[in-house]
């Protein structure tokens, strides 16, 4: 499979940025990177589900794609789901194919998806985060299948952000960040650093880190380790006025069809004009539809809404994802101001740099569990290792 200079944008966001890649039969390629790095988009282009804006794709046929979100019919049996795609007997099996998919465990559903994908004897098999729902035993089984397929000449691409597993089974590791391929191979720590964009840990000046003063707690981790649940828990258990910046901006963020003023008025009584001025939001006026703003400005509106209610607690998830440098700095400044005014700020991010910049305390989240609180200096040493689960 050969990709040459593939680029793809969704609106203003550059999802894949001039990617070239060559894969050969028998390889098991681990494609690694954080959320939004472009891995899934790239593979969807390979599989023909998306058209690239630029570049050429040379891919073998047929292609099997096991998606992250199952495409199964819950009301049908295993056999019927297989029949739906014309799958005949395959080398992996599930017992009792007359069971309804709705009654299967998640691991069995994943296996069924795999069966569907390999039933067509694919020359290229793409697996998108296949182990996120598997037990270690099931994952091992999957890796055995992957090795068998690769031995028979199939190209296997394995998208994941579970670095140890990738290292276990992949013959080659490709790291993506911000739509580009940034590295290949390396140790676990190096991979994590490349994926999250840290060149070297930055030293912070101790200007605001006095003991006892209100703190910014940065919770850092590779995406998919329980951040959403943690955010929800923090929001639920917080006392007083809670402000939240959601991780999924399009689903939970601003309401695109309503104006800036309306979105603001949902929570705050501060006049829209004032907030637009204070937060330097580039808009034609308070009556502009929120959906027509750029990502950075939307985030500013969100921030303005949440911070202007004088919250006691702020839970900010990936607040600067997709923002340019200026907007990022802006958000950071505002969060610091809020903390200085006495709010408890929780910053959940996968960007180590950001964690170092803002966090008075840093904790690493891995598989839903938090590490000990670390000072920035300690974190500089230990975080990459902890994030990789080592």
């Amino acid at each position: 499979m050969r990709l040459a200079n593939i680029s793809k944008s969704f609106g203003a966001t550059r999802a894949v940025d001039d990617v070239s890649l060559e894969l050969h039969a028998g390889e098991i390629v681990g494609l690694v990177g954080e959320n939004g790095a472009g891995k899934t988009t790239l593979m969807r282009i390979v599989a023909g589900e998306l058209e690239p804006d630029r570049g050429t794709v040379l891919a073998p046929a047929p292609i099997g794609f096991v998606h992250q979100h199952f495409v199964l019919v819950n009301a049908f049996t295993i056999a019927e789901n297989l029949a739906l795609v014309g799958a005949t007997a395959s080398e992996i099996e599930l017992p009792d194919e007359s069971r309804l998919v709705a009654d299967l465990s998640i691991g069995e559903k994943a296996k069924l998806e795999l069966m569907k994908a390999i039933s067509r004897k694919p020359s290229l098999l793409i697996l998108d985060e296949p182990t996120s729902v598997l037990t270690p035993a099931e994952a091992a089984e999957l890796f055995a299948v992957m090795r068998r397929l690769a031995a028979n000449g199939t190209i296997v691409v394995f998208i994941s952000h579970k670095i140890p597993e990738v290292l276990e089974v992949a013959t080659r590791v490709v790291v993506m960040r911000g739509g580009k391929i940034v590295a290949e191979g390396g140790t676990a720590e190096e991979i994590v650093r490349e994926a999250s964009g840290v060149r070297r840990p930055r030293r912070r000046s101790d200007s605001a880190g006095m003991a006892g003063a209100p703190r910014i707690t940065a919770i850092v981790g590779v995406a998919g380790n329980g951040q959403a649940e943690l955010a929800a828990k923090l929001r639920r258990e917080a006392k007083g006025v809670v402000a939240a910046i959601p991780e999924d901006r399009t689903r939970d963020g601003l309401i695109a069809e309503m104006t800036i003023a309306e979105n603001l008025a949902l929570r705050t009584s501060v006049p829209a004009e004032q907030l637009i001025a204070n937060y330097n939001i580039k808009a034609s006026g308070p009556n502009q539809k929120a959906g027509s703003l750029s990502g950075g400005n939307q985030q500013k509106v969100l921030l303005a809404r949440e911070l202007s209610i004088n919250p006691n607690v702020i839970v900010a998830s990936e607040p600067t994802r997709g923002l340019d440098a200026e907007a990022t700095r802006f958000v950071h400044d505002r969060l610091r101001d809020a903390a200085a005014r006495g709010a408890e700020v929780y910053l959940i991010t996968s960007d180590l740099d950001e964690a170092f910049t803002l966090g008075d305390t840093i904790q690493v989240i891995y598989r839903g569990r938090l590490s000990q609180p670390l000072s920035p200096e300690e974190a500089a040493e230990q975080a990459p290792r902890l994030m990789a689960g080592l």
Binding site: V71, L72, V73, N74, A75, F76, E80, N81, A83, L84
Partner: protein, 272 residues
């Protein structure tokens, strides 16, 4: 008496069978009323024009197909809201057929007696032949499997539109026959708004029957018998409580929607 009730409920059953298939493919078609009403009128027009009831039935199918095509264009192709489209289709059929009827009221088409089938083959067709045939198609063929998958998880199927249009096509044939039966066999021609809500009743029975054909037959039979009993009671001048009796099917359906009388599971992707 039961036989009479069954015969009278035949158009209803055909509508229920058709709507069951369509809903199994993931579409809510509130416009069954429109399809039946249009079919009733076109059946009469074709039958009178050709002096043949059989042609009339074909005409009914054509009329239902026209209404179905309109609905399908908006609901399947344009992804318009299925509820609003269905209601609009009903209004359109009501208005159009009423208008045409008035205009041609005096003409021979609506004054002369309509040709009838010598033997009412539609009744056994609807109650025996079609349910068996359709059940075989829906549950024993690849086509049926994919059609049902459209109603559960359309993402798992390629060419969803094809299956949904096919379902709509089958429904058009069934409701076409229903409208023809209503106008040519049960009544003696067309009358304004003669479908009188059977379409919505059919919707309830689809749910009552849990989107299966056996349930469709049972539900329609029960409803038909209850309706016939109403007339019998009315004749005996015990006319009060039957209004509440008429409300029972709807209350029962409400309860079923709540999962009270057993688990009810609609096709997962219904309306999407």
């Amino acid at each position: 008496m039961i036989l009479l009730a069954i015969t009278a409920a035949t158009p209803l059953l055909l509508a229920v069978l058709g709507e069951t298939i369509v809903q199994r493919s993931g579409i809510i078609n509130l416009g069954i009323e429109a399809m039946m009403l249009t079919a009733a009128m076109t059946a009469v027009l074709f039958a009178q024009g050709s002096h043949s009831a059989a042609i009339g039935v074909l005409g009914g199918i054509a009329g239902a197909a026209a209404a179905g095509a309109l609905f399908g264009f908006f609901a399947i192709e344009l992804h318009a809201d299925q509820i609003v489209t269905g209601v609009a289709a009903n209004l359109l059929a009501l208005g159009a057929t009423g208008f045409v009827y008035r205009e041609m009221e005096q003409s021979a088409v609506f004054v002369r007696a309509v040709p009838r089938l010598r033997v009412d083959v539609i009744v056994p067709l609807a109650w025996i032949v079609l349910p068996i045939a359709l059940a075989l198609v829906l549950w024993r063929t690849m086509f049926g499997l994919r059609l049902r998958a459209c109603g559960e998880n359309p993402e798992a199927v390629e060419r969803v539109r094809l299956y949904r249009w096919s379902a709509l096509g089958i429904e058009s044939v069934l409701t076409g026959i229903a409208g023809a039966h209503l106008a040519l066999m049960l009544s003696s021609g067309f009358a304004e708004n003669m479908v009188a809500g059977r379409g919505f009743i059919a919707l309830s029975i689809v749910i009552f029957g849990r989107w299966k054909f056996k349930g469709a037959i049972l539900g329609t039979a029960l409803f038909g018998i209850a309706a016939a009993a109403q007339y019998a009671l009315q004749a005996m001048n015990r006319g009060i409580e039957f209004h509440l009796l008429l409300a029972l099917p709807y209350v029962a359906t409400l309860l079923i929607l709540c999962g009270i009388a057993g688990r009810v599971r609609a096709p997962e992707a219904l309306g999407r």
